[in-house]
Symmetry: C2
Subunit: 195 residues, 2 copies
């Protein structure tokens, strides 16, 4: 039996990362078991998140305001460069770091036809000069593209007298920063090495 609104809901759940038909179906049935209030709250939170969250004009992180909370409050002497906004959520848990972030929005990848001008490197340079930043920490994933991007940025910043460091290779090769645990990240932050 084909129930149109159920199939539509299942299809929408399938669009989430890593969700197959059976899982989407479980999610859909669980929606039907909620109260009307819970369901409309759920739907509203989806639309609200999309409508309210934009990118911080300074660092490129998700933010509900033009300039995010971190850029307004934290120390601009030190900038931690990450690939995506979601990496900030984990890096923020590193208590020993009190600087600001910079989201590149990707890494240099000749294979995917992404050069230095396609990611936010220019924005990083102008922030470093505007702030008089002393150190830039590269917190990119420890893979070929991450290393190449870090090296490229280091060659631009070192001549300007900026210390460029990267997270210690305590993070295992090929893994993803998003899923690293806090202890590993703290240690990697502590033992960061000069590029």
């Amino acid at each position: 039996m084909y129930i149109e609104s159920l199939e539509k809901l299942i299809n929408n759940f399938r669009s989430l990362p890593g969700v197959g038909y059976k899982t989407a179906q479980r999610y859909a049935y669980s929606i039907l078991n909620k109260t009307k209030e819970e369901v409309s709250e759920f739907a509203k939170s989806i639309v609200d998140a999309k409508n309210n969250i934009k990118f911080c004009k300074e660092c490129g992180n998700f933010s509900e305001t033009d300039i995010c909370e971190i850029c307004r409050k934290k120390n601009t002497d030190i900038i931690c460069v990450v690939k995506e906004p979601k990496d900030i959520a984990v890096m923020e848990k590193v208590k020993s770091f009190d600087g600001v972030f910079h989201v590149l929005g990707g890494t240099i990848s000749p294979l995917e036809n992404r050069g230095p001008d396609d990611i936010r490197i220019k924005e990083l340079l102008s922030r470093v000069q505007k702030y008089g930043t002393k150190e830039v920490i590269m917190a990119l994933n420890p893979d070929v593209e991450g290393d190449a991007t870090a090296m490229y940025i280091s060659k631009l910043l070192t001549p300007l007298g900026v210390k460029v460091t990267r997270l210690a290779q305590g993070i295992s090769m090929g893994s993803d920063i998003e899923f690293a645990d806090e202890v590993t990240l703290s240690r990697a932050m502590e033992k960061r090495t000069t590029l």
Copy 2:
């Protein structure tokens, strides 16, 4: 950094079965990467499903109409009894079955204080008499509660001249009908045994 609408969205995703914080976070980020149109379509499908889907007045299955499509079109000589609406979705794939379904909405469970009057057994009896149904197939999970419920219903229906069968024990003990594969279910339907 606390982004209110993001946290609200993550919390809503966490209310789905088997979803923890990290998974909910991944889902939330993927919502932010969708277009506004996709997002409002997603939100609408959640509200629509909840608003449009009710229970069929005959069988208790999910339906967008008062009487579901199966009850309107299929053969009422034979009724397949299931525990929950979601079990119908899998049982329907058994090509050799062309009868209607009946959702009990649970199984008899003294431990959870659920007796015969708390599930839709009376409704089953009145449907069997109204239709003059010849056979009732018990497609309940092969566990203690499922077996007890099947036995209870069999004792009510057999004196009325109704043949009560159950799925062959091809389905492994302790498993859940929702996750059984089609081949196993087809075989179990074929070799169903008289109670």
